[in-house]
């Protein structure tokens, strides 16, 4: 599952991951994630700066909820200080924008295995 409020990025990443063979669900609305009921994705790619809601807050809530806290979360941000933010929010991994496709795929694979 991918959440980013920028349609360009969301579109490009979805195309990229689908091309690589992943089953991808893309949404520009971060709040939607919190409304996931029974079906949890295998991994969540989450943008930090989204209109209306902060990706770090979503991540914190997921990690505090016992039903979602096992879900691997990879935070994505244009901020260079993402490492600190990701750790503070309890994310499993992070990725700075703009990123290389290889880096993205590596991180996804690593966290899916975990």
């Amino acid at each position: 599952m991918i959440a980013d409020d920028d349609p360009g990025i969301l579109d490009a990443v979805c195309i990229m991951l689908e091309f690589e063979g992943y089953n991808v669900y893309c949404t520009p609305d971060g709040a939607e994630i919190l409304n996931m009921n029974s079906k949890l994705p295998d991994l969540l790619l989450l943008d930090i700066w989204m209109s209306g809601i902060d990706g770090r807050d979503i991540c914190k809530q997921l990690k505090q909820n016992p039903t979602t806290n096992k879900l691997p979360v990879v935070l994505i941000s244009a901020s260079r200080d993402i490492e600190g933010s990701a750790l503070a929010a309890g994310a499993d991994d992070f990725l700075a924008k703009p990123f290389d496709i290889d880096d993205l795929l590596n991180k996804i694979e690593r966290n899916l295995v975990n």
């Binding site: 579109d11 490009a12 195309i15 244009a78 901020s79 260079r80 924008k97």
Partner: protein, 773 residues
Amino acid sequence: MSKLIPETGYKATFNKISAAILLIDIDAPLYTILDVNDAYLIATNSTREALVGKSVFGAFPANPSDEEAENIRMTIFSFEEAIRTKMPHTMSDYRYDIPIRGTDEFEERYWTTSNTPVLDENENVSYLIHSPANVTELIKLREKEIASVEALKNHRQQLYSTFMQAPVGIAIFRGPEFVVDLINPTLCEIYGRTVEEMLAKPIFDVLVHIRGQGFDQLLEQVRLTGSPFKGQGYPASLLRDGKLETVYFDFVYEPYREIDGTISGVIAVATEVTEQVTAKQLVEEAEERARLAVDAVGLGTYDLNLETGEMITTKIFANIFGFDAPVPRADYVSVFHPDDIKLRNMAHAEAVVSGQLFYESRVIWPDKSVHWARVEGKVYYDAASKPMRILGTLLDITAQKQAKEEQQKLMALVADSEQLLRNITTAAPTGLWMSDEQGDITYVNQTWIDWTGLCYEENLANGWLNSIIPEDRKRAGEKFLEDLANKNLYEVEFRINHIDGTKHWCVATGRPQYRNNGTFSGYIGSCVDITEQKNLQQQKDDFIGIASHELKTPVTSIKAYTQVLERMLLKKGETKEAGMISRMDGQLNRLTSLIGDLLDVTKINSGKLQFNDRDFEFNDLVKELVEDLQRTTEKHKLIEKFFPTGVVFGDKERIGQVITNLITNAIKYSPHADKIIIHTGVKNNEVSLCIEDFGIGIEEDKLNKVFEQFYRVSGDMQHTFPGLGLGLYISSEIIKREGGRIWVTSKHGEGSTFCFALPLKTKTKALRSDYIG
């Protein structure tokens, strides 16, 4: 009664003779009394009837005091001698006491009696005229005389003893030779001789060495003229213990007169006063030395008699008043400067009360020149507290006065220029300050006071910190103390609470100051209000921050599309197209890097650059980065020359960013070289990294500029090596913020070596704990 004296006339005469007479018959052993005259009866308290016709020894028995009947034997002997020799015989001065009639008492009497034989026609002794003379008074007188003589003898003995023991030397010299007739041990001791050595010898024969010292003439003069001579403190050279010594005497020479008035010699009385004279000489010498000392420092002295107005002054005193030699007091008074007379009179009036005289006055010399004199003195009073004298000193203080005037003029000039400086500093639109070597503020100008609303005193010492807002205060204070400790140029930015109610940004700078002798004296500095610039800068930073973040978003999606496209083309076997897309991705990386740099600079400038410090293995990081970067160049061989470095505490990402920047630069600026050497190591508690390239190098005058913001290679090569000129600036800021240092060595045309070093441990420096509250 065989013989009678018949004639009446003779009888009457006999009875009227004042001498006592007894006519005695020569009928030994009776010696009958033939007749007696009235004087005899009176002298013996007897009557004619009790005596005439009786033996003389019957009439006058032995006295009770004459126990041996000496008188009787003596009388018989005298009678017999007169009869035998037919010459008168006298018994002298014998005692025969006379009974006091009517009592048993006797009266002491002495007698001298003559027994004169009276011859008849045949020249035979007819009778004896016995005539006792009462010599009692005479005898008594003689006894008294003897007692007197005895007393006189005692007295003389006492006198002699006194003379001999007298603590003054006494001698009598007789005759023209001045023979020592008498001399006491005291004088002998003075002469250094014994009495025996002196006595009966001419004085100058014994004391040969004092001949010619004037004493012989003096003695001679007294002996001849009879007028005494008194000498005081007279010096004489005398031999003592074999050495000639100068000793001093008080002495009197008196003529010695015989009973007839003639002068037979001289009596000398002398005391040695050497000690007194020596003491006096010492006092005189001390006085002389004091006088010399007073002269040497140019002090004039005076002694003013307040009763007579008479004043004794020294030559120097006179000189200070412009006279060649001492003059009467009135003359001195006449040369006082007219304006100072009143002051001088007041000083004198006060002196009489306080006992101390002090004033400074001008005096006018004959050549009309004006001189300054300082008069000091002490007043002396009599028993009735009446001021009698003033003793004191006078000093020429013209030079001091002139120097003081010069100094005052200078002080006035300094005050003027200080006022001018103050006016200038107040007019300046800049805060100005000064500190001492301890960092305590000693001066702020009016501009600063106007900004902060703190008064001058409130800013002194560390008071100035109170004008800084609390968030910036500690940083500003610590930076100042750090720079002070190293005597560095001080520069810091902080915000102050401006009197207008808003916060103003200031940049404070201070330059260390040194005294003429080279010692550090503190800081002189300024404060410039940079609120306006700061606001503009903030706007710029905000804009760049937002812009770069906004730029990243489309770049991210373009990059994602590009990479997907590349993969799709590769899958289709369109390698040529895929290669073009790959190069496009490379350009996107450059664009990303530029945007990142812009964002970093913005953060550095606004102090928002964040660090996530943690421990990491330094060499591992370098190795990882070198491997990544080796992939970006085929031309250059990145050579690792690593020494063990151990663990560094810092922001791994940021430090990695610096290493990447340095290696990327090395590749970029050595287009014709084929290798780059990367050194690591530890030295002096620092981990260091050096990137050595063999490229274009840097001109020497540009070396210290390469770490500045927006510095770029200029001139012909400007377009060969594009860039924003931010990379090294960001690197140096990161290294500085991590507590390290960064530097470069280079030779133009041969290559450069960029290095940085990071501390192994965090260094802390002790700063003034009292400065920042």
